[in-house]
């Protein structure tokens, strides 16, 4: 018979699996048929939170962790969409979290509750940056859906940008609105015809798109079997 506290942790991890199946509802309203999941959103939000904290001199790992947990309540309350704000009242997130971690070892449950409380009251710099990360992720995703052809995303971009509070998030949002999603791979695409030519292939160092020569991955000391 399993240790009840370990079972509490196990139950929570299976509950988090639901966020890997749950679509973000805002995109459904915007006409995206098969949008990202809450888990996918949370992943990039946490990456963004880490970087914003580095830019603003906050604790980066703490900020990333606040991001990681910021939507974990949605396994129970769902992702109430913008058109639902006028019709739906939910229990406060800390209350949901308290129930989710009720079976945890006491000190671990307490730690998770404190993370969620910190995010919700929005007083610490880390919590404010985590909130900015949440909004910036939405803006970036909206830009990506635009590049797929979707026409109705400007409200998501405008609203997200307007909600940003930190200077770093605002500047980064501004750049994300100027730089197209394809920018990062354009250098690769331009170098591709050379790289792809069928004969005369060689394992000698290739010119990196970024302009730096990197180590030949066929060299034993640099290579590894993934």
């Amino acid at each position: 018979m399993p240790n009840p506290e370990l079972e509490g942790l196990s139950n929570f991890l299976y509950e988090m699996g639901l966020l890997k199946r749950s679509k973000r509802t805002g995109w459904l309203i915007a006409g995206v048929d098969n949008p990202e999941t809450i888990a996918e959103h949370s992943f990039r939000t946490a990456i963004i939170g880490y970087l914003l904290a580095r830019m603003e001199g906050a604790d980066p790992c703490k900020t990333a962790t606040l991001c990681l947990f910021h939507d974990t309540q949605e396994s129970r309350i769902g992702d109430v969409p913008l058109v639902g704000k006028a019709y739906v009242v939910t229990a406060p997130n800390p209350q949901v979290t308290a129930d989710q971690v009720a079976g945890f070892p006491e000190e671990i449950g307490q730690a998770v509750r404190e993370l969620v409380d910190e995010y919700e009251v929005r007083e610490s710099l880390e919590a404010q940056l985590a909130r900015d990360a949440d909004k910036l992720e939405c803006l970036i995703q909206a830009r990506e859906y635009q590049a797929q052809g979707h026409e109705d995303l400007p409200p998501w971009i405008e609203t997200s940008a307007a909600a940003l509070r930190s200077e770093s998030a605002r500047q980064l949002a501004e750049v994300c609105r100027q730089v197209p999603p394809r920018q990062w791979w354009k250098a690769f695409a331009e170098s591709y015809p050379r790289a792809a030519k069928p004969s005369g292939e060689s394992l000698r160092p290739v010119q990196e798109p970024s302009g730096r020569t990197h180590q030949d991955p066929s060299e034993p000391e640099g290579a590894r079997r993934t």
Copy 2:
């Protein structure tokens, strides 16, 4: 014209978007047609890492952050599946990361490189727990696919369990193998017929599945508009 360092960060965030579209290849081999993405896997891995670190007395936010970045190189090298290990040699992850962050502000790029280095050398307790989190997430996902009917997942469960190094991860894995994915919502399901009965509805406090009475969400001081 955008600030080049902000553009470097923006490029990275769009590159991370690819992990929201990229499926984990192992599940394709196992016969799962439309499996989880790398982003979804990374999300729950980071949650697990946080909890394992709490259990083992390591730094939980640091561990979660190591998890968050542990597969970020796969936007470039892909997710080489088990049947590819014999045929594919990839550049080391730190080299890929170095290229990904080459356009970052110097100190932020350095910080990300150090995170990836720490994870790859597997010397710190946090790095070892992050690796355990990666494996444990795989085990849990395999269990969830089993509950969907998939028959061919035992190798993923066995291999993941065998790779765990920390005592906490081993114990948690053992419990995750005993407890079915449905366990967390069974209490809700059992209370549902009462909750769902069409008349006599009331906003009075309901009995929580966990046995605790929680605050009535219709009470102004506890409620909030999400």
Copy 3:
């Protein structure tokens, strides 16, 4: 500039499009990755309602129509899942409907509000049968997911069956639990090897699986160009 009342109707029809993109959340909890939409559920619910009303001597077209509108509020309030019942309070469905039809021509809006009111108060026989149809559809869908391999559906089957009120719905549910989803096409499958044999094909009347000979569709008077 469009007639405002026609615009009110048009807006509602585009709003209903959201139900073609919105997944039923209960199945996500049960582990179904890409489940049916609310629109799909409503379609078969209305078919069932029509048949139940025929069985019980109620108004079949009225019952089907009550079914058709029974979840139309979910474009605004979402499909609150069972694990959310304890945490979420929504505006009453009639209030949501009132807002949805506010721009309609007055008498049409009034008619839709009355349909929803009738369904919600559950006093008319038609409304009670529509509710039974809703539950029976859930049971049938759960049975179909079981045939796909999903293991965790018994709670949906049990709960749905237990919620049925009319004798006809109870009897039909009992049969749906005994008869497998494949039953309807088994007769076809058994006749397939004969029908599919590559030579000796003929357009002469084929033996219907149900045992009746039907008219040769190549006969001009019976055929039509779809």
Copy 4:
């Protein structure tokens, strides 16, 4: 052993499940990869039929029911696409329906056959409006796919509009072509920044997008537990 007539009904309900898995083929031709199902189309068609009948003084529940059954034969004959019209001859819909309901209790089977006959001969006002609803639904869906970026939908819009017979359907189609799919939620989106601001939240009545103040859903007498 199940009652054979109930088994006939049960078989039909499982057969209708196929329409929840079957994509409308026209959209595949138009380049939509993962389009709506026949069940989803039928759902909104029936909603439209109800409204058109209200506008034209026809029987709204009857019209909705004709819509509901108008494609039920496609579980057997498929959805023959426009490029197939020149190559495929199908049995008449009434013949397919006759086979589908052959195992029903006699009077219920008779009723369903009469519904389909009525729709197919297109003589009653209700049948003509049901046909208009079918076409109008296609037009609306095409408009929604356009907002997703698809370029090749004008033929569906033109052909559907040209096929409409009733004055109400023509007027409504005209408005649906002027009003964008996003219109219904724009008022919500504009009110969102206020509603979403993280502090100063209150449960006091919010201003409805439609301009009317609605009852506070936290008030016990108005609220309900869904």
Copy 5:
């Protein structure tokens, strides 16, 4: 203005794109929600045809090509499912092909028509083996869906096996029914824990699952940049 004959070829290639979006309808009946496309089926059918022809001493490239074109008519007539055989009459495949290639350069159109004629009359050994390949592919796919948990596939396996005519196809089908889909990667999975261990990695030749030592991919003369 494009050359009309090249335009005829171009049109055909875009028409073939529809087979990449069209699902095989039989699996929808069997309860598979999101099954393989006609293009995917045709791909493996052609691989099987090649191998069967090698086994039976027929022309392997000819057989593969017959397989490749065997369902190309379905862009126009759809994939009529087993339950539709009694209700649908289609133009003969050679007639559809004649229309599809009407704009081709004369001799190329003629060649494609002859391929389809040869397949349809089923007289040549190659045509008979192509038909067997079609059936065997169906059997193999059914087995794969079974490993995903689907329960209702035995009729597809039985019917496909019973339709096979050549000795080689019958023997191969027998083996495919005994050998599980996971067999091919089991050797890899068993060798994985060793290959995956995080330290002591080396680029020296690994032991192949098949037992043969293969060349080290890091050796310049053997390696290539894909």
Copy 6:
């Protein structure tokens, strides 16, 4: 116990099933969420190869077969995307094939190895045309994704066009860039309103979009039961 050589063939066929589940990674980079599979790409590539060989006087069935096998190694090495070229070294395709066919009857394994060798050394006209077919298929698919709204596909179109070597492939690519994907069905769409009109339907010969009158499919000698 199965014959080991038949088991070798069976294993390969199940391995090929993985290509029906594996998405082409280039499209994921381009922002396409749910792109084509390797199997789908290979299907149309082989069709194109057949036609190019007819145009250039090469062996069409041989060319189609080379196309069919050209990506069969990707079940083991994956589809290394353009951004991975700088980071990933894979075993040569002939080596992968050698392992894949190691369990085959000797002469069949030898034949498959020779096909792959011929494709890889790119010396025969057939191999060069198969390579052109691979590139042309990519161009055509990119055009189709553009018609769905995707903005970032020009690099795929340019790079594919630039890689073409044969005159026929270059000319055909030029036409495919001028002719839109919708061209093939436009004639059908224009004839549809007539064909679809609900009364006065007849089974008499219809005017073919291509301008030729074809045989009435209801005539017994021309018709067949598919």
